[in-house]
Symmetry: D2
Subunit: 334 residues, 4 copies
């Protein structure tokens, strides 16, 4: 079986998805692309696939079996809804929606459609480090989890990103991945502002502290201006031991008075394996398997928790996270 | 010059101080010991120094130049006051006092004595890792500090230690060392309880989050029951890079499917170098140098901050730390 | 374009190649398999591809575009020659032949065929660590290479493997990879026997020391009975710095008094990425690209050098490696 | 008891010994110094000890209990003999002598004196990493040793050092330390020259391969021009696991695209702890203990083995090491 993919959005993320589909994924073929910038679409398409002028048109193209959405954030929800309407599986980059109502409408549409079609591009769920943590929690190898310490640092953040957007764009990854690793929802959240770096006086590095329903404390440093590189770390602390992410390039160098590893410059390098496995397992899911990534419900809860964090940031208070009960539809997905 | 030391308390800590004084410190001689258990005093004394039945008597012994106090906590303040009264330099194990009033009375007595006599045994200030962090902050090598992440794990805590005592006994180390590394006082503190480990259902692992006057966020995990070993870690995050403690034994082993280092079992091994340098530099200070360790004022502020943390633990609120102005006497010490 | 693969040999290596082709390689399809054990062939084939009783038959099957040979060692050369005769690209597991004459006959047949068809399965050339080393040598980033230190340890070697076979089966990997990393042939080789481990009294751990034409010294520890795990290491020492392989699992664990990583148990885990990229790049080469792996000439030289090492082992002498000039045909491949 | 030390030679090594004696060693006092450069002697003496114009005079000074020799290499043997004649314990920097006859004469003089007086300054025997290796070998924790891989790199070697001198000055450390770790003598040695670095065209990096009496293979890379720093490494490979030296500064830094540790610039930093413990344990030995460092016999055997290595370098042959039987006098020292 070959899955014929249509790609909406041919920017940095879109063209990387195209590259992966073409070189690293068995049973997949990229047959159609779309981008509002025709030249960009042309560059990704080469002479190997057709170009649609309109994303909705690509979605209903009968020669397209599955959709990848990597277009601007505001278009994610409407296009995901269109894919559901067309009955086509869709891998949508995060964030799944611009607001909670939109996010909820995707959940509702999917439930109405009666089968799982949506996966949100929280690619970290495919990182082998986080997978090992989750496996340990599920198996109880190290006992119950007590803490999860997360660090998220970018080298240089874009100017327009405020402290608010740090939570919405960056920390939402930690919100999703901590639910994935720990297998439960958050109950409460606090956010504490650090002093600004003089490199980025318009925003503040943040410390978010979440508590899960069972009482695991999740700490998250979110710092967009670390200068030295892109660095995502994590330590899971359990009753009998800990597991830490420990990624690094394949060689260690000793040069110029220093002995160590190069730090990644961005998420494309750091999560290369995760992006690859995300698409591989998405294709496998279409071939009779199970979606292993974030569901629409997971995306909705991540957005809802990020909104609570935003309120915590603004008020300085501890804010309760109230995601409500998971619909039975998602329970059945396991 | 040889400094003649008198040691009060010959338990675990006291006998280790005796061992260090005898083998690793130039210009020091242990001439007198005291312990309420005569046999214990005898074992430490050997035939090389005299034994006093009474600690006050040891303190005023004219053949004793300087005092090390390692007796039970409740005796620390009265004995330190006695040393001040005798005009003798004293290295007192932490905590310096049982309550804030007592702690403050030591500060006042020292100021009245007109010269610095007291050093509190926060030995981490002599750990080469923390010293490197402080040096970087002072020199501004990596820009301003923004975060200090601290982890304090014991292998197996004693049964009687409640969550309250974790703050008073353990986390007070992080309170002192973060003031040392960052060179400023704390402004506020929160404490969040994690779920209990089933290994120690009577206390909870804690997450303390402090903010300094300038807005550095200090996070502290305090976990007494980590099982795998004694583990103190720290990462200082600055505007242009980070420094992490990275201690480990001198050899790495590959054996039985694992490649790594043995973890220390307690603070004696982990901070062996710090304990040694603490005494070395104390002796150097007596020979015309400057006390490099925690002053009575530092000890007082650490206790005061730990009390605020205790209130934060009990109330769940964010508590302000109000240490008041540092007396001019201590400013002059630099 | 889809490359239709035929697989000869469905044992451990063959079934792993099948798995990779099916899940991780774009543009490839496994259409036919063969194994002298029908049940094994059936298990790999599933209901997704046809089964040939005879390997020669599979090779000439007009529905098969390219061949993977993973059958017993003695069959490698005749089957590779059959693939060349059929004009079909072939990825053949090492060793390429049972003796030098056979190896040379493959080189000659390929030259006669007039185009490159053969790649030898020295998968380490696709390991990202060795690739980074080679890139540094080519770019001269760290100056000229001076030493390459290699370590090859298995957990528990099979009983039948003698010291001779260690050189032929294991160390031949280091012979090939050092030619790849350093970009030049070896001139001389010595082999020194260590005492036997009591775990394997019938063979000796070996230390092979090679010198390249330009004077780089390559040291190789070959130890089949390291017990603790499968461990392949390397350090490239250049005029201005060094690069070391530093592979490990994605998480570091602190548990039971130890802080470190699990060691791999075998080459399948250690070189998972290399095996995947080997097939990916083989397919890319068939789609108009260039073979990036070991050529038939590389395989021949590796065998010839291993024979010299064998002589060095038996005689205790320093043995010259005389590979002769590379045929112009291979120069043109670049 | 206080040991009154006299120091001969106030250069880099001598002044460092003085510093250590004064700050880090209990029970020691530096009472006299000598240097042929009076100003240098004055700077080390300060106003705290007397200065002798003549080293022999210092040795017989009745106020001096023990001698440290850190004067130019050619004076080591005559001064050590003078110390033996005076019946005074002496810690002599390596090399103990300029040639084997001189070295042997020290052994003979010490035996004639009837008690151990001489320790050679192979300080690595006090490095905690090598001590842990030796302890493992003695205890058999990991089974029998099979390999010991050693690396010795300087950042920038002095111009006058030829390949010959690399063996005599640098590799002699590895010769001594491998005898210490493995607890046995060497039987044979080979030396292989690598190409020269363009940074130091007048000498060649060397690969020395020794075999011990029981068949352990010891490999030694000796490279004086590594540029990136001073780096001494070692891996002990045993039947059931390995131990590696893993020294580094107390903090790890993430800055400027790199994550790692600073490399030491020279032996003073790398072996600071070893130099300190060497003097501490020397003093302890004088107070009724046992000398833990290299004896005169150890120094003699190291020199003899280095001479064999020199012959191996010059001839390209495998050279037997013939140290003869250890005198019963040294057996008794244990």
């Amino acid at each position: 079986m070959t899955v014929r993919f249509g790609l909406v959005g041919c920017g940095v993320m879109g063209s990387d998805h195209a590259r992966i589909l073409r070189s690293d994924i068995a049973g997949a073929e990229l047959v159609a692309v779309q981008d509002k910038d025709w030249g960009r679409a042309k560059r990704v398409a080469g002479d190997r696939c057709r170009i649609h002028a309109d994303p909705e048109q690509l979605i209903v193209d009968p020669g397209v079996d599955a959709i990848v959405i990597a277009s601007p954030d505001a278009t994610h929800a409407p296009l995901t809804l269109a894919a559901i309407a067309a009955g086509k599986p869709v891998l949508c980059e995060k964030p799944m929606a611009s607001n909670l109502d939109e996010a909820r409408s995707i959940v509702d549409a999917e439930i109405a459609a009666g089968r799982q079609l949506v996966q949100i591009g929280f690619m970290r769920r495919f990182d082998p480090g986080y997978r090992a943590m989750r496996a340990a929690v599920k198996a109880g190898t190290l006992g119950n989890p007590l803490f999860l310490h997360c660090i998220h640092r970018n080298a240089v953040g874009p100017d327009y990103v405020t402290s608010d957007l740090v939570l919405a764009n960056s920390s939402v990854h930690e919100i999703d991945i901590s639910r994935y690793v720990l297998g439960e929802d958050h109950a409460r959240v606090r956010v504490i502002r650090a002093r600004s770096s003089r490199k980025a006086p318009n925003r503040q590095p943040l410390m978010m502290v979440l508590e899960t329903m069972s009482g695991v404390v999740v700490s998250v440093e979110a710092f967009l201006d670390a200068q030295y590189g892109y660095d995502v770390q994590g330590e899971l602390v359990c009753e009998e031991g800990t597991l830490s992410l420990d990624p690094h390039p394949p060689v260690r160098s000793r040069v110029g008075g220093s002995d160590g590893h190069a730090v990644e410059t961005d998420w494309v390098g750091r999560f290369a394996d995760a992006y690859r496995c995300q698409l591989r397992d998405f294709v496998a899911a279409l071939d009779g398997g199970r979606f292993l990534g974030s569901s629409a419900w997971d995306g909705y809860v991540a957005s809802l928790t990020a909104e609570a964090a935003l309120r915590a940031l603004r008020t300085g208070e501890t804010i309760a996270v109230e995601s409500g009960d998971r619909p039975a539809f998602y329970d059945a997905l396991g």
